[in-house]
Each structure stands twice: as C-alpha cells, then as structure tokens.
Subunit: 215 residues, 2 copies
C-alpha cells in the first residue's frame, strides 16, 4: 500500500480528528462531510477525497459514524497509542511546553527535559525533572522517546537536534529559526513565529497597496 499522502492532507486529517473528538465528547453519532468541512475550514469534496484515500468509512445517504471515523483516523495518523516526547532547552518556550496541560489529553507525554544550564538542572517543571545533556542518551533509550522538541537558542539547535537523532529520535519539532539538516528518514516540522509574522506583514501590505483597483 504505497502511501504518499501530502503534508496538507495530513494536516487536514488532524483537524478532522480534533473535530471528531469534540463531537464524540458531545455524544454526536454521525457527521456529514459537509459539516466536517465547514467546521474545519475546507470543502465537503475535499473531506471525502482525503478519507477515500484510506478506505471508505461512511454510509451513503447518512454520513460518517463519529466514533468509527475517529478510530480510523487515530489509526491512520498513528495516534492510536501514546507518544513519548523530550524537550531540549528549558527556557521561555521550553517551560511553556512543559506546563502545557493539553498535551497529555492529546496523547503526548513529555517524558524528559534537558538543559545545559547547571542552575536549571534538578528542578522540576510540570512534573518533569530537568536533566543535564549527558543523561540524554539513556533517557531516550529508557523511555523509548521518538520525538524531540528543540527549544534551545538558535546556535545550539543543530547540535541538540543531531544529538537527539543519534540517541534515537525519529522526528524533530524545531522552534529555533534555523534550517536544521537531519539524516534522511528523520521527520521535521518547524514552528517559526517570525516567519509567520512576516507572512502576515506581506498579506497586510499587499491588501493595502492602492496600485491595483478591484479586479
């Protein structure tokens, strides 16, 4: 079964799942592609195409069973089990992540936190003890950590990421504004606030250029 699902499809699937979990909590039994589309910001046809890529989960004339589709999506996305995560760099962003309660209920456990600053080591945040970098390899092995979140200063980010990968990380979520180079096969996503802000600037600027009138 040769998958080749695009990033944008995966992002939408995540959104559908988020919605389905909410509907499930509200005891809704079925949902149509139209409703799912409206509440996640896409089109009904897109929803059906996305899902049809993995199987046919709906009933014609009726819609999708909220519970069933939820389970299917969790399986497709690999969210049918919990994931163990490590955070590297417990500064402003790292601390915020350790204190973010929502991760747990979404299936992510922050199992370890690392910092190079001796004065931070040993203290606890969000129930996680901050460890020195030399404890990294063992912690990754012990907790079978597969995802590392990089929240170090930009100069340290590449080293931190490489080390996490050597220790067994198979995916990196990077908060530092730098292009990481990682070995083939390691997944990478970026959270780049400045990049997004600059994108907004472009849109605002473009929208207010008086140069071109309507049409």
């Amino acid at each position: 079964m040769a998958r080749k699902t695009s990033d944008s499809t995966v992002r939408r699937l995540s959104r559908y799942l988020r919605r389905l979990r909410k509907l499930d909590a509200q005891d809704r039994k079925v949902v149509s592609s139209r409703e799912l589309a409206e509440t996640t910001g896409t089109t009904a046809a897109q929803v059906r195409k996305d899902l049809s890529h993995f199987g046919s989960f709906g009933k014609r004339g009726q819609g999708y069973s909220v519970g069933d589709l939820r389970v299917h999506l969790e399986e497709i996305l690999g969210l049918d089990h919990r994931w163990t995560v490590a955070v590297l760099g417990i500064g402003k962003i790292g601390s915020a992540l350790l204190g973010y309660g929502y991760f747990t209920e979404r299936g992510f456990d922050i199992a370890a936190a690392f910092d190079s600053d001796p004065s931070k080591i040993g203290s606890e945040l969000g129930g996680v003890r901050i460890q020195p970098l030399n404890a990294l390899e063992e912690a990754f092995r012990e907790h079978r950590i597969s995802i590392a979140i990089i929240a170090t200063p930009v100069e340290a980010a590449q080293d931190a990421a490489s080390r996490a990968v050597s220790a067994g990380a198979r995916a990196i979520l990077n908060f530092a504004p730098i292009k990481l180079s990682l070995p083939e096969g390691v997944a990478l996503r970026e959270m780049d606030v400045t990049l997004e802000l600059e994108g907004l600037c472009y849109l605002v600027t473009e929208a207010s250029t008086p140069a071109d009138g309507p049409e």
Copy 2:
C-alpha cells in the same frame, strides 16, 4: 500589478531574506540562486522563479547583490518599516513572546499586552506593561497596532480575536488550537504545536510500517 503570490512562495521569500540579512552582516556582496537555495532548503530554479515574479534583480553570470536583493525583498514583504504588535493573553506562551528579544531586531515591536486576570495587570514583562482588556481599543488606536497575537486559552480565543479586529487589527497570529472565523480581508496564520506533533506521528508511523518493502 495583480499579485497572487502563494503562501509557500511568501514563506520562501522570508527565508531568503533571513539568509540575506545574515550574509549582509558578514559583508558578503553577491550570492547565487544556487547558494541561496542550498542554504534555505529549496532549488536554484525555485529561487529564481520566486524572485522573477517581482522583477529581475540579478546579474547574469554573477548572481544577486546581497544588499540590493535584501532591500527588494524587504520592500516586497512589507518589512521596509517596523510593525507594531499586541499580545492578548499573557500566560505561559504570551510571557515567552514578551521576553523574546529577537522580535525587535527583526522589525517587530510589541507595543501592548493584555490579560483578563486582574492579578497580572500592571506588572511589566519584557518592557511592556500588562493592561486590562478595556484598554485595548485605545492602545490599538494610539500605537496603530495592526497585528494581534492570540495567546489566550482556547475558549477565549475567538472573542479576543474578534475584539482585536474591531479595534483595528488587520492580521492575527493564533496560538490557540481552534479555527477562528474572521471577517474577509483579515489575514490569519496559525501556530498549532499539537497539529505539528500529530503530523510528525504520521510520518514516523508511515516510515515504519513494515507492510510495503522498498519500492
């Protein structure tokens, strides 16, 4: 001049600019599309296509002048002047943003911060005083704030965003995991950590399905 630049192009332009600023600081005079591509994670042809959409800034056989191209990109992206930003919700994420020194050197000034918690109001963080929500309209007017960053709990996000828009915000950067509905013409970008994490889970899961062998 009918622009219709795609999001992905704008994102790349931001990356080029980031690189150019660094090269400029290092006193590099010229750069080729090839080098720019390699250091930003794309292809030379893509770099040239992106730029050619706005004009021809290079010299054949030589490459691009770092300084000139930098200025052009700043102008294209609307980064040839400073932008004033407000943060709504000064909790874990909001505090991290107020303390993020890098914004200033990238042309963004956080001019105002708002929170609904009376115990936070009046205190200062990163040189910005936290204000009550009822000061929002005046502050937006006074500082001509056009970008609002939403860092409130998810339940408060829609209200906060709507209020910012009414007060004059033309762009929203949203950290809350919810689909905001905003009037036409207001730009929106999302920072959704959980969505990115879930995307990573999919990639890791997919990469390790033993089902399909190589090719």
